[in-house]
């Protein structure tokens, strides 16, 4: 085989396909990638240290800014961690409202993520526009419930900030009518589309054992064939009350990641339907009236995690008995899912890098923290 000179090229930091300010130093031999090193930190703001000078409640709006696509899910992880640390009970209705919001978040994240992925493949904005429109509808619902579209800041210790407005449920039910049509349509657009198959099939393969050793989480891990979903593996909140399936991929390539995300949207819709059915019977208000927001937990440490749309988001909190956390560590899914990027890209072509990166579904606010 002809040996050619290796060349180093930079993709990013400011490149439209890098999903933020993210740089990849790619070593290529011809068109084939021999090495890839991700470089980040451009958005680093020492989130964890900011959290150490804030009180526990003050950190809630900051968690919104981690993964700004899924602020509700971030809120959930943080609220769970503090509730575990302090020992706050959450009323049943509040739990249902939380699950409802988090599952809506999952749908909107996957709708957006698939759109961005197809955009990275060169399909421009078509799929993205369809996905974003559904996302906007969900954001409308978030806005009416929490007051903001992206930085929702909706969760409180012991519940959620306020109950649903009266027009929320009719709109949600309308949305659920549209949702299967939307997901089916997305599948029709993507599945067995020859161009998409060319770009995604057997690209960026991450075998099962490798995925586990790389600590990959979320749809990435499941696409590699590991049925590990925290909602099932270590049920938090009230996820043990719902029927839903865990989709896994057979090969672990980009195509599997697309299929898994599409199926997860269907499963999230199933959960939301069960929430709507069970919500009227749920006891308690939207928040535990005894829960103080200005918490002062006893000295100790706690780790709580949730399955966000991107994977396992964990908060490791150490309390020294004061009003502010002594240590606040975020285990961010996007950050860890980036670890195997170099291995996944090795041997593929330069054009595949952006596709593989898009299939990881990263948000730089969470990677850089």
């Amino acid at each position: 085989m002809l040996k050619t000179e290796e060349l180093q090229i930079n993709i990013g930091p400011q490149h439209p396909s890098t999903h933020g300010v993210f740089r990849m130093i790619v070593t290529v031999d011809g068109e084939t990638i021999t090495d890839l090193k991700p470089v980040f930190g451009y958005l680093h703001r020492n989130h964890e240290q900011i959290a150490e000078v804030n009180t526990y409640l003050q950190n809630m709006p900051y968690t919104d800014r981690l993964d700004y696509f899924n602020s509700m899910a971030n809120n959930h992880a943080y609220a769970l961690a503090v509730e575990k640390l302090v020992g706050i009970e959450v009323p049943e209705r509040a739990e249902y409202l939380r699950v409802l919001m988090v599952e809506l978040t999952r749908i909107l994240n996957h709708a957006g993520a698939l759109g961005f992925l197809i955009n990275d493949m060169g399909a421009w904005q078509t799929q993205l526009a369809f996905g974003m429109r559904e996302r906007e509808k969900i954001l409308d619902l978030f806005e009416s419930a929490s007051g903001a579209r992206l930085m929702c800041n909706y969760f409180r210790f012991g519940g959620v900030a306020r109950d649903l407005p009266p027009d929320f449920m009719p709109r949600l039910k309308d949305l659920l009518i549209a949702m299967p049509a939307f997901v089916d349509e997305m599948e029709r657009l993507l599945r067995e589309n020859e161009i998409l198959l060319q770009r995604s099939e057997n690209i960026g393969v991450l075998p099962k054992e490798v995925a586990i050793s790389y600590s990959v989480t979320g749809p990435m891990l499941r696409a590699s064939g590991v049925p590990y979903d925290i909602r099932r593996a270590e049920p938090y909140s009230i996820y043990d009350r719902f029927d839903f399936d865990v989709p896994v991929g057979a090969v672990g390539d980009v195509y599997d990641r697309i299929l898994v995300r599409i199926e997860e949207m269907r499963q999230s819709k199933r959960i939301i339907e069960q929430v709507i059915a069970q919500l009227p019977d749920a006891q308690g208000g939207h928040i535990n009236p005894k829960a103080r927001q200005n918490v002062r937990p006893p000295a100790g440490d706690v780790y709580a995690r949730v399955e966000t749309p991107k994977g396992e988001l964990g908060f490791y909190l150490v309390s020294d008995g004061s009003l502010k956390p002594y240590r606040y560590k975020v285990r961010a899914p996007s950050f860890i899912n980036l670890t195997p990027l170099g291995d996944m890209c090795r041997g593929y072509k330069v054009a595949d890098v952006v596709v593989i990166l898009g299939s990881i579904d990263i948000v730089m606010g969470e990677v850089d923290r």
Binding site: G41, Q49, V226, Y303, I336, P340, R369
Partner: protein, 171 residues
Amino acid sequence: MPLLSAEELRTRLGRDLPGAVLEAAPLQIVPPAHGSKGPFVTTDVLVEPTRLLDAALYLRDQVGYTYLSDIAVVDYLTDNLLEVVYRFYHLDGGPSLALKVRLPRENPELASLTPHWPGANFHEREAYDLYGVVFTGHPFLRRIYMWDEFEGFPMRKDFPKQGDKYIGAEE
């Protein structure tokens, strides 16, 4: 579902890896004058720093906790030590098991898990960047968030919270 409590893990580790498990001394996170509600006693397994790799591999190969989820460093300034928390999960589900390692704040050094868990790569680079924990055997131990020329470890508790060397202390 394999449910192994920290207590059981401690006895198993004590049986199979003699000398690896340490008795966890209570931590005085802040001086009592600052309103701390007593010392903080961990329930997790505290491991001798030099035996960390053995313990982690034991956890993976013998107990089946293959999934390394998180590596967190905590700076206990008043106790003058850094604590590194490794969190493992079993892929069949269930709660985590944590291994904790206590290191001196001066020249903290620890064996890297990256050769065995490639997923530890960024975690360890982050710990090195923000806390200065050196992981021997790591293939590419560089700063990950801060720029390479940065001096100091910004997440340590004694890192100045205001001002920096570029704009002076007034800011």
